[in-house]
Amino acid sequence: MTPLRVSIFAAIAALILLAVVFELMRSRRLQERYALLWLLTGLVVFVLAVWRSLLGWAAGAVGISYPPSALFVLASFFILVVLLHYSTVISRLSEQNTALAQRLALLEHELEQERSRA
């Protein structure tokens, strides 16, 4: 069984994460599409921290003898997913950035041609 103090600590940490994400969304510093993974992370950690028998059962099912470790494993997994998601976002942004730079160069040249014609 998970020690009670670990459960309380994990639940509070999850709530703080949820509150921070909520505040970032409220103040429009975090878009919903990027917040969803964080919210899911906070929710899952919170549920497993509070529902102690579920965590114990889940840890046992995958062969982890000390249930709090399962909480860490799960949290790390979510962080990896978030990071991977960011890599795809960065890739897309850099593609778009390239396309914009190319467009800008072409349009600038066109503008110059128009100006020198006028």
Partner: protein, 238 residues
């Protein structure tokens, strides 16, 4: 058929004017577009003095992004043939007729000037030569066609290739290997012709050993993934 020479340039103020003049001398039918890929010297001004079109990128995109910009220009201004020529004077414009012949004859969509076909006078460090050979062997296997020089950037593109690559071209450095795979996957016809390259007029190769290793791994991964990728776009000629 209107023809354009695409010259990507990064800080080549000492050689760019000569390269443009040589292209003109070799074939007056060519228009020249220089893509200034974030130069901090007078590359753009030198090119403009020679009467080339100059496209100035707001920051450095790398050779692939620069070449693609030139191909976009060629697509939008209805050029039927585009040739990619290095700004450092490595490529000899007097060899343009050989490079263009397969396009004009309608035998190919992409023609690559190979340093390893025909008479060989290509001098490069041993490691570089081995690397080029290795890539050639891998890419030949992937595209199912014997190729000898996949990293040559002395290339000619027909209209179908211009239109396709204007939308889908690999970015970054050493993009030509990936471009070869993409071309073959989307149904563009490739052909190699022998060319002789000169020692570069100015400057050094920008490749150091750690960078070479990094790019080699990057390209190998890109080629491997490319095998399992569908073409991003349909081939068409608009």
């Amino acid at each position: 058929m209107r023809k354009i020479a695409i010259v990507p340039a990064l800080n080549e103020e000492r050689s760019i004017a000569a390269v443009i003049a040589e292209i003109r001398a070799a074939d007056p039918g060519f228009e020249v577009v220089v893509i200034d890929d974030g130069s901090t010297d007078r590359t753009a001004a030198r090119a403009a003095e020679q009467g080339a079109h100059v496209l100035t990128l707001p920051f450095n995109l790398g050779i692939g992004g620069a070449v693609q910009t030139g191909l976009q220009y060629a697509r939008e201004h209805d050029f039927g043939i585009a040739v990619q020529i290095d700004a450092d004077g490595q490529h000899d414009p007097t060899q343009l007729p050989q490079l263009l012949a397969p396009l004009v004859a309608g035998e190919a969509d992409v023609v690559v000037g190979s340093r390893f076909l025909g008479e060989r006078n290509y001098k490069a460090p041993f490691v570089r030569r081995v690397g080029i050979r290795l890539f050639a062997a891998i890419v030949s296997a992937v595209v199912g066609q014997p190729l000898t020089d996949t990293s040559s950037s002395f290339r000619a593109y027909g209209r179908r290739a211009i239109v396709y690559f204007a939308r889908d071209y690999p970015h970054g450095f050493v993009e030509s290997v990936e471009a070869t795979v993409i071309a073959s996957r989307c149904g563009l016809r490739l052909k190699e012709v022998p060319v002789v390259m000169r020692q570069r007029l100015m400057g050094q190769s920008s490749l150091t050993l750690p960078l070479s290793i990094y790019y080699s791994i990057k390209v190998l991964v890109a080629v491997f993934v490319g095998i399992f990728r569908r073409s991003a776009y349909e081939l068409k000629e608009d």
